[in-house]
């Protein structure tokens, strides 16, 4: 009764960590922006359902906001083309990591991952999974709460509706998260004894996700240590960023999961 259709969650952890590492070691906008495209491509091929699609959009929006905010920070010092570019690149790196995480969150089931966490990490992993699950739930709940309000004759249009929505929606989200945490606890989560109902083997699909990702990260690591490619483009003076062909190929490797595709449910 082994489920050959699903992918071992560890494969995605390896993918996300590798992609995150690549974003970590470079500020080259070519590589970083490509990572956005890669994350989008992989998400498109593997997203689980509508709820997670919403959460990906949230992460994407968050990433864009992060870039804008970090770039705007330059106004706290001397403003020059070089400084602004530098600020922007730092923000872009941050945003890239957020988008990668958005893909990771959209293609995996966080609670499935929590079960795999080592015993002493069960509680923090659960807290993180709960925090993550609030966002998509929240978006879904907004619709329901608005319906409820409308049925009671409360009609507030536009932005002014937000305060009236915020409390019941957040409260509902918190309640749901609380109930879930409670029931996991009551069902013995984290008690230490463990077995697996349906062990997840490493399928070909999982390997195709994980192995190219490791190769990509290794390539960037080699570039970082060996210095044979520019990973941090010059900003003073500003120059055209470089795109090393080998490193581009490495980023292409991170897109392989999007090609592998998800088996139909």
């Amino acid at each position: 009764m082994i489920d050959r259709r699903a992918v071992h969650p560890m494969a995605w952890i390896v993918w996300a960590t590798s992609a995150g590492f690549v974003a970590f070691v470079t500020t080259d906008p070519v590589y970083l922006l490509l990572l956005w495209a890669v994350s989008w491509f992989v998400y498109a091929g593997h997203r689980v359902d509508a709820e997670h699609a919403r959460s990906f959009r949230l992460f994407l929006t968050g990433a864009v906001v992060a870039v804008a905010l970090r770039t705007a920070l330059v106004f706290f010092g001397t403003v020059s083309a070089a400084n602004t570019t530098f600020s922007f690149l730092e923000g872009l790196r941050l945003g890239t990591i957020l988008v990668i995480f958005g893909t990771f969150n959209a293609v995996t089931d966080p609670f499935g991952l929590v079960r795999m966490a080592p015993r002493h990490f069960h509680e923090p992993a659960l807290a993180a999974a709960l925090a993550l699950s609030i966002a998509p739930r929240t978006v879904a709940d907004v619709g329901r709460v608005r319906d409820a309000q409308r049925m009671r004759g409360i009609r507030i249009q536009g932005v002014r509706a937000l305060p009236a929505l915020a409390v019941p929606v957040l409260e509902r989200g918190m309640e749901e998260a609380h109930t879930l945490a409670e029931s996991m606890d009551a069902r013995g989560h984290g008690a230490g004894r463990r077995s697996r109902y349906r062990p997840q083997p490493w399928t070909g699909a999982a390997l195709l996700i994980a192995v190219p990702a490791i190769a990509a990260a290794a390539t960037f690591l080699a570039a970082s240590v060996g210095g044979w490619a520019v990973l941090h483009p010059q900003t003073s003076p500003i120059v055209w960023p470089e795109a090393d062909l080998l490193l581009l190929a490495a980023i292409g490797l991170l897109a392989v999961p999007g090609l592998v595709g998800r088996p139909e449910r």
Binding site: F24, L94, E123, A127, A131, H232, Q234, A243, I251, G258
Partner: protein, 282 residues
Amino acid sequence: MSTVATIVLRRPVAAAFVVVAALIPVTVPAVTGAAPACAAATGPHAALVIDTGAGVRSFCVALDATIVSGIHLIELAGAQDHLSYGFGSGGQAVCRLAGVGPQGDDCFSDYPQYWGYWHGDGHGGWTWSSSGAASARVGDGALDGWVWGSGDSGASHPKPPLTVIDDVCVPESTPTATPSPSRATPAAAAPSAGVRSSLAPNSPGPSNPENARAAKPSNEGIGKTSAPAGPPTAGALAAAPGPPPASAGPGPGLLVALVLGVALAGGGWLRIRTSRRGRSSA
């Protein structure tokens, strides 16, 4: 209402974990300003030229970040090539370089003499720095110059000798013959009598061998840091071909990257459309 906050507050470990996880995306970029320092002639480098009045020393300095301050450039030169230095005003100003200059915290205690700060303009000339060493931004391919002398502004303070960064940090693939034409070309019709006056405290002649010897520890085979032949051009050297500029136009890699990016974005969009259609028809 008892909430998830209950779990988090009652389990400080969980709370710490969630907070740290949230902070990581913010702190990571700050920490990774420090890219590994590179000992070879690849990776980010800047040049530092120190003219004490009695001699000139040049340093090719490997940068440990994309941008460093003028102060940090001196520190790096100290760490890599044993340049001695002393800072004042709480580490914000340069008092002493290569053994010349006042000790202590007041960098102007030998006034009217002090260390003048210049930035290389890329063609051999120099611009008087408009900011202090602590706030100056030095990046890959930049050139910083310090001259000990008197004169309250760029108009009166002595300049470092004519230098381009490729003299100090020799690029591996560039034929060393290339830099010479740029300085041999007499760009402006400056009267030869006035040629040396702006470099008066500098006495470039006797300092030449010293240049070569001083520059050697940083890089091999440079002897031509300040060729007495070329007149100082103060940046108007437009005619010369010069060494290959660091900023070439967009390369072929960018084109490949663009194609790849469009393919990924388009592919993703197609994927989503077909799966949505599949779902709605199911």
